[in-house]
Every structure is written in structure tokens, then in C-alpha cells.
Amino acid sequence: MRPACADLAIDVAHLAKSYGAIDAVSDVSLRIARGETFGFLGPNGAGKTTSVKMLLGLTRPTGGGGTLLGRPLGDRRARAKVGYLPELFRYHDWMTAREELTFHAGLAEVPYADRARNIDEILDLVGLSRRANDRIGTYSKGMQQRVGIGVALLGSPEIVFLDEPTSALDPVGRRDVREMVRALKARGTSVFLNSHLLSEVEQTCDRIAIVDRGRIVAAGSIADVVGGSLGVRLRLGVLDDAALALLRRYGTPVPAGDWQTIAGVPRESIPALVRELAAAGVEIFAVEPLTTTLEQRFMEVMQA
């Protein structure tokens, strides 16, 4: 169901950006609901970062337009409710993490009385409490990215843009970011996630869009984009004629050793198939629904 205008965190139509003869973005239209976690995917140079910069008012579109949090792109009042982690993050290396967060809390107009508490919570959330008073210049790249995530989360933003938020993080850091994204979603914050890591997007996002050469080439829920079930693969005991007839009611079983693969079985029909097999006394050792992964679908779209 399409969200109503008032419920939209992002509502843009036909955004375009050209640099002379080069079209960085040709046609990007997005409607993202408040509280939604949205994944923006595409190969390098597809126009993802330019699109994010247009949404944030850092770059002026040469075509199209729309709103962010109900206000025109680049509006100052909307920016008071936005958090942003750039892809190429850099913070004041002569400041401590606490000082950087304090500085941004001032820019973000976080009420003075709430700042110390908000900063302590964020330092704890991004795992920097112990190094909060060390200079950022002494931090590893991953720790600097954690500072950036903390800066983006300051002041309870209504939407957070994370551009490749785990590019410098180790597996533990990536898991932490996934948990942070889920926590943001739980408190109703919209998240716009720009990432090359498809598994990350698959695990955290409600909806996605795939952009290529400045255009959105696929969009919707992950299930919509990935496509329906490809069938089911079953490892079964001895099959008599009745059991084979039962399988044939769902499709054409293709045997391979102990395994039977039936193409085209809808995901929602699989439990009924399993129930019927069990009722018919067939031993069931394994059931594997067959689906396309987001990565497979992404590659198909890119090669199309």
C-alpha cells in the first residue's frame, strides 16, 4: 500500500543531475514512508551518492524535485531532523570524539540541557565511551566511522542517511551497525541505507531500489524485487506411487539421489506439501525452499 503524503519521509519525483553533458542522475523517483528502512543499491558510479546529496540539499537537482520530511529539498527546518554519515567521512582529527559530538550537537540545535546525556548515550551506542576523550586523529578508520555514525544519530533525527556505513568496520562493527539500524527502526526513525553489501541490506531493509546509470531499474520490497519462490527441494525417504502422485500435484519432481526438486512451488504452499507428505507416512529429512538471493537478482538486473 502506498503511504499518504503526510507519512512520507522522502517524496521525490524524476530527480536529475547533469554536469554538462554528463548525466550523473537521470531519473530517480522515491516515496519512502516515515519509519521505513530503505536500501539504495547500485554499482559504483550509478548515481547513488549524487542522489543522496540532492536529497540532503548538498547538490541542486537540474531536474525534478520533491520533499524531505514534508519540506522542500535543502530546507533548513528539515535539516534539523536529519542525520548523515557521508561515504567519505572525515572529522576534526584534533578534537576528541566527545568534542566532535558536542560541536555537532550545537549545529544540530540539540537542546543544551539534553546534550551531555544525549552524547553519553551515543558514545555508548557506538562503542566509544572508553576512548571518548582521546583525539580522533589517534583512532583507527573503523573507530572514526563509529564517530561518524554517532554524529549522524545526534539529537533524535527523524531520518538518518547512512552512505556505506560499514565500509571501514570489521565483522563485529558491521553487526553493531545492523543492530543500530534495527534499533532506529524500532523507535520509528527512517533509515536510508546506501550500501554495496547486499547481505546487509537484505537483513535490515523493508524496501529497496536498485539504481543503474542514474535510473531506478528495480524497486519494492525485497520479496518483490527478488521475485517469488523458485520451488522447493526435499530430501525424502522411500517414495511409493501414492507419494509420487502427491508430489506431482505440486509440480514435476526431478530426482537426484535422495533429493526431489519441484520447480514453481509457491512459498506459501510448502507447509501444506510437507503436511501431506507427513500424513502419507513419507519420511522427511530436509526441506529447502528455493529462492533467488538479492545478490543473484542484483546481478541479473545489472546484466539486463
Binding site: 536529519v82 567519505l88 572525515r90 578534537m95 549545529l107 540545535e109
Partner: protein
């Protein structure tokens, strides 16, 4: 409020990066070295006798304009080399991106940087200028006629350079904006010297070139006004036209008004240019 916050950030950065400490130490070293030279001038015996005091004062006044030129060069280059990284450097590295997505006006960022750098360079100019004057007075007894006015105009040289560099830095890279303003500064100075030569030789085209140069980058107009206020009346009376480090006739009031207006217009242009660019 954001302007003051950005200005404060700019000053803090210079303190934390030990720029102010290094500048202060080098300034004291330079002042002490020039102090030895002025002391030697005052105590040196010529044919068994010290120089007459009035002659010591005259030479000290001329030497002080040379020292002032050295400092003006430091202020001008300081203005360029501090302003370029302060704006273009922060853009080049991406440091400004998360700041620009806050509810701040881009204009405030430029004005904050300008204010922070102008305050720092002015305080630095007055600090090292007064230190130098004190040393000259202690060693030779000479004290320039209008030290505070002169230092104000020397600060103007730095502020002109900050404004010009911020304008370039609003669109160009850090290196390009720094180099562009330093080249313009050098050009303005040398055209000013050529203008003096043209005035002495009655070549109007060279005089006009100097005027145009001062209109385009008024650092030379501020420098000349500063020197004029450092020179004692007796020295000015003895000059036959301007020389590279001596000024018999300061720029007219209209040129000074233009110069102050130029700073306002160039800073406004830098604000507009920065506010309308893409990142």
C-alpha cells in the same frame, strides 16, 4: 550564533594544532634578531664616535619599514595559507559535508571562517608589531608616529588576503585557491613598485597600472598606508616620490574607502559563491 561558533572553531583549531605557539615562538626569535641589529646600530662607533642620535633615529625609522614589510609578507601569506585550508581544505577532505546537512546557513560558515581568521591575524599583527616597536624603542629610542594606525592597516593586508582566498576557496581546491591569491598578491606588489617608478619617470601608463592593481587587490593600498603611518614627518619630507619601502604620498581617502568596501564585497561574493555551489 553559528558564525561565532565557526569562528571559535577556527581559532580553537589553530591553538590545538599549535599554530599559534609556533607563530609566537618564531615571532619572538625574529624580534630578538632584529633587536640585535637595532642595538648594533645604536651602539656602533664610527671613527671612534657613536652616530648622532638624530641619525640613529632616521636609520631606525627606515629599517623599521623594512621589518614591517617582512611582517606584512608574513601576514599576507598567512592569510592565504590559513584561509585556503580553512574552507577549500574542509571541502576537499569532506569534513564540511556532515556540517552542511545541519540546520546552518552556508553563509554563516564562510562568515565564521572569515571572522576567526581576521581576528587571529589582527591580534597576531598587533602582538608582533608592538613587540617589534618596543624592541626598537628599547635599543634606539625610536617609536613610530602612529603605531596603532599602522598596525591596523597591516592587519588590513592580511584581511584582504583572507577575503580574496575565501572567494577562490569557495569554488577551487585548497592548493589552487592558496596559489591564486599569493600570485595576485605578488603581482599587486610588483605592479605597485612599477607604478612608483612610472610616477618618478612621469610614465602615466605605469601609474595607471598601479591604480588598477590596487583597485583589484587593495593589499598594496593598505601596505602603503601602513608604511606612511610608520614614517616620521622628517623622513617623509626628505622623500622624492615613493620608493619600494618608502611612501611619500599615501593612497587617497577614496582608495582606502574602496579598499574597505572591497573587503565587504569580496566576502559577500565568497558567501554567495559558497552558498550556490554543489558538493
Amino acid at each position: 550564533m553559528t558564525i561565532l561558533g565557526i569562528a571559535s572553531l577556527t581559532l580553537h583549531e589553530m591553538i590545538r594544532r599549535r599554530l599559534i605557539l609556533v607563530a609566537a615562538i618564531l615571532t619572538v626569535v625574529v624580534a630578538l634578531l632584529t633587536g640585535f641589529a637595532f642595538h648594533a646600530l645604536a651602539t656602533k662607533l664610527y671613527h671612534g664616535h657613536p652616530l648622532p642620535h638624530v641619525q640613529v633615529l632616521a636609520i631606525a625609522a627606515q629599517l623599521l619599514t623594512l621589518v614591517a614589510y617582512m611582517f606584512s609578507l608574513v601576514f599576507a601569506l598567512g592569510g592565504a595559507f590559513l584561509a585556503a585550508p580553512a574552507l577549500a581544505g574542509d571541502v576537499d577532505t569532506g569534513l564540511l559535508l556532515p556540517m552542511l546537512t545541519r540546520p546552518v546557513r552556508r553563509v554563516d560558515i564562510v562568515l565564521g571562517k572569515f571572522l576567526g581568521l581576521a581576528v587571529f591575524l589582527s591580534v597576531y599583527a598587533f602582538g608582533c608589531g608592538l613587540l617589534e616597536f618596543a624592541i626598537v624603542r628599547a635599543t634606539t629610542g625610536y617609536w613610530p608616529p602612529h603605531p596603532f594606525v599602522a598596525l591596523g592597516y597591516l592587519s588590513g593586508v592580511a584581511i584582504v588576503m583572507v577575503a580574496a582566498t575565501l572567494l577562490f576557496a569557495s569554488r577551487l581546491s585548497m592548493v589552487a585557491s592558496g596559489i591564486a591569491s599569493v600570485v595576485l598578491y605578488g603581482l599587486a606588489w610588483i605592479v605597485g613598485v612599477a607604478s612608483d617608478i612610472g610616477a618618478n619617470a612621469h610614465i602615466q601608463a605605469m601609474v595607471d597600472a598601479g591604480t588598477i592593481s590596487q583597485l583589484l587587490l587593495p593589499s598594496d593600498a593598505f601596505w602603503r598606508t601602513a608604511v606612511y603611518h610608520l614614517e616620521p614627518a622628517a623622513l617623509i619630507a626628505g622623500l622624492h616620490g615613493n620608493a619600494p619601502f618608502m611612501v611619500a604620498t599615501p593612497p587617497p581617502l577614496a582608495m582606502l574607502l574602496w579598499s574597505f568596501g572591497w573587503i565587504v564585497v569580496v566576502v559577500a561574493a565568497a558567501c554567495w559563491s559558497f552558498a550556490t555551489r554543489d558538493f
